[in-house]
Symmetry: C2
Subunit: 366 residues, 2 copies
């Protein structure tokens, strides 16, 4: 045996075919579409492959077939907890499929995104997952010309390139503010960092809600383009207090900021929620554990990642979804930090697609 192994000592398809007593092409078919073989040959090839420990050479396959089994994923950040949940969903969904994930970080730059897109597309990926709906015109054109399925994640918009899965950050922010209104709060500040397009839309939702109630004032809004952090939450809140001393609530564009605000309140002996209510965004795990527990807008990040990869793989394999745009909704999780009744964890408003699409976050975070 092994008389004509490749130099690297690897077993090739030809060896498997020889052992199984079939032609190489038949063996090849076994790995791509076993049903096309007669049962007899199928079992022969199967056992031959197992006996030799055959592993297909993906480079050769890609070259010959003119396509790859790579799913490209473009996300703006690796640090942000939000994306690590999404990623976990994507990786989980890709497991057991032949597709492998190729991840790249756009660092919140749509120019960087365009560059990476060009790179990805040149390698003919099987599918693509991109973040958000704010691509450059050039990127947009490339995406539309790409001959592979594409999913846009994190938010939904009117004009999907192909498929889209997310929720309305605008509506979610409005729901958070509506919740605060319902609790009797009127002077509600906004604290935001990074100000990427999705945070911007949360701000837009906040502004609209406040304007509708005739309560909007520019000085209630404090933002920065700096990356978010807990410490930054405290600093922005300090700014906000200086600009608008009379506020009775703060809506934070994410949970890290909210935790920073909570700590800053503690430092200043401001009672939460009696003097100032706090609402965060994303509902990270620690929000339910803080003292007081912190209200937040729950978003289905893991589910978003998982579903996007599942939809993408289905589309790659020809099973197009009946609905290309999926709204995963959100849910305002009311906790002590914004409850005038000091009740713990009672659900309030839910987002559009939410009511029945709402799924539990996975209990095991590994």
């Amino acid at each position: 045996m092994g008389r004509k192994r490749t130099k690297s000592g690897k077993i090739r398809l030809a060896e498997v075919a020889e052992l199984a007593g079939v032609s190489p092409i038949t063996a090849s078919r076994f790995f791509r579409n076993p049903e096309a073989l007669s049962v007899a040959k199928r079992t022969r090839v199967e056992s031959a492959a197992k006996e030799l420990g055959y592993v297909p050479n993906l480079a050769a396959r890609a070259l010959a077939s003119q396509r790859t089994e790579v799913i490209g994923v473009l996300i703006p950040s690796l640090t942000n907890n939000v994306f690590s949940d999404v990623l976990r969903g994507i990786y989980d969904a890709s497991e057991g499929s032949p597709y492998s994930i190729q991840l790249s970080n756009t660092r919140y730059s749509i120019l960087q995104e365009e560059k990476l897109l060009r790179l990805f597309l040149a390698q003919k990926p099987a599918g693509l997952i991109v973040t958000g709906i704010d691509q450059t015109a050039e990127s947009r054109a490339m995406l539309e010309a790409a001959d592979c399925p594409i999913v846009q994640i994190m938010e939904i918009g009117p004009d999907p390139v192909d498929m889209m899965i997310g929720f309305s950050h605008y509506d979610a922010a409005r729901a958070a503010i509506a919740h605060l209104f319902a609790q009797g709060h009127r002077k509600i500040g906004f604290v935001g960092a990074r100000m990427d397009p999705r945070v911007q839309r949360r701000l837009d939702g906040y502004v609209a809600a406040m304007k509708d109630a005739g309560l909007f004032e520019q000085r209630l809004v404090v933002t920065t383009s700096t990356p978010t952090s807990v410490t930054l939450g405290g600093a922005l809140f300090t700014d906000l207090l200086a600009r608008a001393p009379g506020i009775d609530a703060v809506f934070c564009a994410n949970d890290d900021l909210a935790l920073g605000v909570l700590f800053e309140c503690r430092r200043r002996d401001i009672a939460v929620p009696e003097q100032i209510a706090i609402v965060g965004f994303n509902d990270l795990e620690f929000m339910a554990s803080a003292v007081p527990t912190l209200t937040s807008v729950r978003t289905n990040r893991y589910e978003m990642g998982r579903t996007s990869a599942t939809m993408l793989i289905d589309a790659i394999e020809g099973r197009r979804p009946e609905q290309p745009v999926l709204d995963l909704g959100f849910k305002v999780i009311e906790r002590q930090s914004s409850s005038s009744r000091r009740a713990d964890s009672k659900p309030a408003a839910s987002g559009t697609g939410a009511a029945n699409k709402m799924v539990a976050l996975p209990s095991s975070h590994d």
Copy 2:
């Protein structure tokens, strides 16, 4: 022009060569080793490539050259903040290099790791980054037989497969306990979750330090194999209080647990640090922002990722490091939660390799 483009409309190397008036092999060399060409041909090929917008076909290259430009990365978790920092470092270091990162999640299972390793190795990666030093015998054998550079990250041990970069979790835990001793604490509890090998070694360090001082008691240790979380920190601390009511300090195996303990203290009106001191591990960003600020053991996660990828790429390209094992050290960051003097943020003990190797964490977390 374009009279013999490939069906897919892609530009091939041959077209570039033709336009430049050189042979394909010369054009090929331009992309791999430009110095080998005369300046005249170099510029000719360069402008031809640019004019045609040529992008090399990686599958063909991989097939012909019998190697890939893929760096495999095996980490146990995508959720854990610790790994997202490491990953960011790895991705940052790989940027601008021809190597692309192929990430896989072992889910803290060494059997899963073995399976993934087999998969990776079959594709002949350019290099490999694996987490920790606790591989199965089979994995170990595969790693040793692999003909590519390998870096083990997160910790250091006596017997590297190839290169190794990390720090001693055992020493770091001992340093944390020494710090608590110095502050006058004696009855120090240990709270740990997940209990992966690195957490286990932190526990070992704690036990050794306590035994050396004649203070060890089994009931001071509360652990679980459950994945870590802030909420879990509170729950484990509650257990600890029930088992050992008289404790005056808690060493937490990570910062999430420490935050949970802090919140639980708040809930129970236990004064920190007056009644109970708290020390965490990793020094995540929020530790400096909590009230009171939380002492932690700083570890150089981003640096670890970045350096490991840099070392790996250097090794791939034939530049072997003079020292294959790199101890990145640690540093106990003393803050209010463990300071009898209630001082803020004064450095205490540093780990072995730390003193001069210590580098600042990147200020911009994006």
